[in-house]
Symmetry: C2
Subunit: 143 residues, 2 copies
DNA sequence: TTAAAATAATTGTATAATACAACTATATGA
DNA sequence: TCATATAGTTGTATTATACAATTATTTTAA
């Protein structure tokens, strides 16, 4: 039982959150805003859905998702389509503009990370990705 | 040039920030508050310092650190000692109560992480810790 | 078959964490 | 010694979020 690694993770996780939050905070709210990134990603990945479903998938409060969706709609990144079956509910679907913006946003993040990790070897990239994913899977149940 | 791993990191990093922020948000602001954790850690590690120095070390705005320090002082976790040489400035030093609270806070985080990663093998723990640290070091220059 | 309960979404309000700008008090240096 | 620089605080704004109240609609049960 080696506590050292776990202690490192404990501390470095706090530092990571700080730094990433600081770096990714939005400069121009004209474009895709950080907080709505995962919402748009989800719509792109899984197709259209209502606020309730999205909130469950993203593990966020419905009200939070409702606001994020409204903001995406206002920018033209998603379309709000009334559900034909249930007049209370809607489907949000990503628009072409939204898909383009998502691609650009992802690309910008990708490039930042590529540059940041340019001197890591391939195995480190792969390991870090896998472990992050595994950590996130573990976290999922904790919210 | 394998883009896949970098794309995984790009996405999982966003998910990680979301989930960790959600899980670590404070329930009882009587005790040590998440945002001040690294400040108290820093004082514990490097000894007493003024707001300016701490802000540089933590890469935060002076005003942010000033408030965090004031809140720590109000809880009795740090003492605010006037600098004898310069009447404009102060040194914050961790108190015994503060040190105890820091230890408890760290221990609670440690236990959460231990439980979360109980089924990882030792090598994964070690790797994840090392890579997180390495990633944070890379981020440091980007703020 | 209608009244009560449940549900989808929005909106009001509150909080945490932060940065930037304005300000105060003190120190430095030309 | 006065102008400028510096340490720190406080005012204000923003982002991201949750919880509570509300509205509109649907489902259920008497």
């Amino acid at each position: 039982m080696n506590e050292k690694s776990l202690k490192t993770i404990e501390l470095e996780m706090a530092v990571l959150i700080r730094r990433v939050n600081s770096i990714t905070s939005n400069r121009n709210p004209e474009n895709l805003v950080r907080s709505a990134y995962l919402l748009l990603h989800q719509l792109s990945l899984k197709g259209s859905a209502g606020v309730k479903t999205l909130a469950e998938e993203l593990q966020l409060d419905i009200s939070t998702v409702s606001r994020q969706a409204a903001s995406l709609e206002q920018k033209g990144y998603v379309a709000k389509v009334p559900s034909p079956l249930d007049k209370r509910s809607y489907f949000y679907e990503i628009t072409d503009v939204g898909a383009t913006e998502l691609r650009k946003y992802k690309q910008a993040r990708f490039e930042k990370i590529s540059k940041l990790l340019h001197d890591w070897d391939e195995e480190e990239h792969e390991n870090f990705g896998k472990l992050l994913k595994k950590f996130n899977d573990a976290l999922k149940g904790e919210i």
